[in-house]
Amino acid sequence: MKGSELLIFYILEQVMFWFLILVFNFRLKDKGGSKDV
């Protein structure tokens, strides 16, 4: 992998993990909400 590709890969990896972490930590609330409907 070339240097600049590596840089882009690193940034994408961060975005993916933050997506996972936000989903993982805040999904319980969403589940509670959908039950009422």
Binding site: S4, L6, L7, F9, E13, Q14, F17, L20, I21, F24
Partner: protein, 454 residues
């Protein structure tokens, strides 16, 4: 001489500011108050920002250009997976505040003592990296010879760690975190202004040729991911957090801080290459660049901010080292001549002496960190993962675990002592040895037990 004494005075003030009388072992090692999200995140981040991130990684970027990201990727995977899989679990465990405690939930005392000895080595090596870094910064910015600089910082840190406790460390950590972040961003701004912006740095980066083989990259993914699952400061702070969610988000915040600092280190490393060519020793790059780009009135202040960040990591690990020696090694082994707090203080002193000696044994900061991580991964990863995933029931394959830990740890130590090759790949062999021994002996023990039953 005058400037040296001024700096010692300033450092002493930073030290005294942390002083707190210790009342009991738990108060010394854990704050009685539960930490909220802000405190958890900032304490974790402040302990995270250490010599390896500030000086070591900048030096690595200087030596390898964009290829240094091969270290940043596994590091962030380690931090984020810890946040997702382990931070919440550790928070829910009662007394999960050291790796030894967690392993002791599943295995006998003997195994937790052996793993604690390896965690102690890990802490000692990490303190050594911070001492090296302090020495380099003292030399480049204040003109104090390397060894005196490191000694002054060690003595001050030991002094207030003996008097202070975890709670005070948390309070000062928050301030230190802001100091160091502002400091790093200032250095970044001056680097960009003096060197000629991002495009110039990018051009410098493109002049590097690929540095690592596939084997190197594979071992980076082991060395910089797995040992983070055993990071002592993560365990300590996650168990002090007020909820599993706080612990998880706090660790994730560390990932974000590390991401930002990676870019600062990259800019500084590349600026080093633009300014000084390729002749500098890796660990001198950050102090030299700082010395070259900052105006002289800022240099002293930023030097102090960086040394205080290094001290803040050293004090956490001195505390952890001393605590482990007392709580997880000497006390369980029946060494009851002193009470635990006195023993922990003795442990702090011993940890400090060991760190001072180990400082001369390594080539540079990243090398030392890689050794510490490898040693830990090769010895304790198997029992730790089993313990984190078990529901507290007694494991039966004690002997095989003990042999695999000793085998893996010894492999990494022998690799370094006998100088068999790059430190970075020793973890591959260490894990291979410990994994093979574990499987071999578990199967053998199972066969033996089966024979006895029938």
């Amino acid at each position: 001489m005058f400037s040296l004494s001024v700096y010692i005075a300033v450092l002493s003030i930073i030290g005294f500011w942390k002083v707190k009388v210790i009342r009991g072992f738990n108060a010394y090692f854990l704050s009685e108050k539960r930490l909220g999200l802000l405190e958890t995140s900032l304490t974790l981040a402040s302990s995270w920002v250490d010599s390896a991130i500030i000086l070591g990684f900048a030096g690595y970027c200087y030596a390898f250009g964009y290829d240094a990201i091969w270290i940043a990727i596994p590091t962030s995977i380690g931090v984020y997976t810890f946040s997702i899989f382990f931070a919440g679990k550790i928070n829910l465990m009662r007394n999960g505040f050291t790796v030894g405690e967690v392993i002791g939930r599943t295995y006998s005392r003997r195994i937790s003592v052996v793993s604690s000895i390896f965690v102690l080595f890990y802490s000692v090596a990490l303190i050594a990296t911070n001492l090296m870094a302090s020495g380099y910064v003292m030399e480049a910015i204040f003109g104090v010879p390397f060894i005196y600089g490191a000694l002054i910082v060690l003595l001050l840190t030991v002094f207030y760690t003996l008097l202070g406790g975890f709670k005070k460390v948390v309070e000062t950590d928050i301030l230190q975190f802001f100091l160091i972040m502002v400091g790093m961003l200032l250095v970044l701004a001056f680097v960009l202004r003096n060197i000629g912006g991002l495009t110039r740095l990018h051009d410098v980066a493109l002049s590097y040729s690929p540095a690592f083989s596939r084997l190197d990259i594979l071992s980076f993914f082991i060395v910089f991911t797995l040992p983070l699952w055993a990071n002592p400061s993560f365990y300590q702070v996650c168990s002090a957090a007020d909820s599993p969610k706080t612990a998880r988000l706090g660790v994730a915040f560390v990932g974000l801080v590390d991401f930002l600092l990676t870019f600062v280190a990259l800019a500084i490393g590349l600026a080093g290459a633009a300014l000084f060519g390729t002749s500098l020793p890796q660990d001198m790059v950050f102090p030299k660049v700082m010395d070259a780009v900052l105006p002289s009135n800022l240099k002293g202040i930023l030097g102090i901010a960086i040394i205080s960040a290094l001290m803040s990591t050293s004090d956490s690990y001195l505390l952890i080292g001393g605590g482990i020696l007392a709580h997880d090694i000497l006390y369980p082994l029946g060494f009851h001549y002193f009470d635990e707090v006195k023993l922990a203080k003795l442990g702090v002193l011993l940890t400090a002496v060991l760190s001072l000696f180990s400082m001369f044994w390594f080539d540079n900061i990243i090398d030392t960190a890689i050794f510490a991580f490898s040693l830990f991964a090769s010895s304790s990863l198997i029992p730790l993962l089993v313990s984190l995933n078990s529901r507290g029931r007694e494991a039966k394959d004690e002997l095989s675990v003990l042999i695999s830990m000793a085998g893996g740890g010894t492999t990494v130590i022998l690799w370094k002592v006998l100088n068999l090759g790059d430190t970075s790949i020793s973890v591959l062999y260490g894990l291979m040895v410990s994994g093979t021994l574990w499987l071999l002996f578990s199967v053998m023990l199972k066969l033996l037990l089966a024979k006895r039953t029938f």
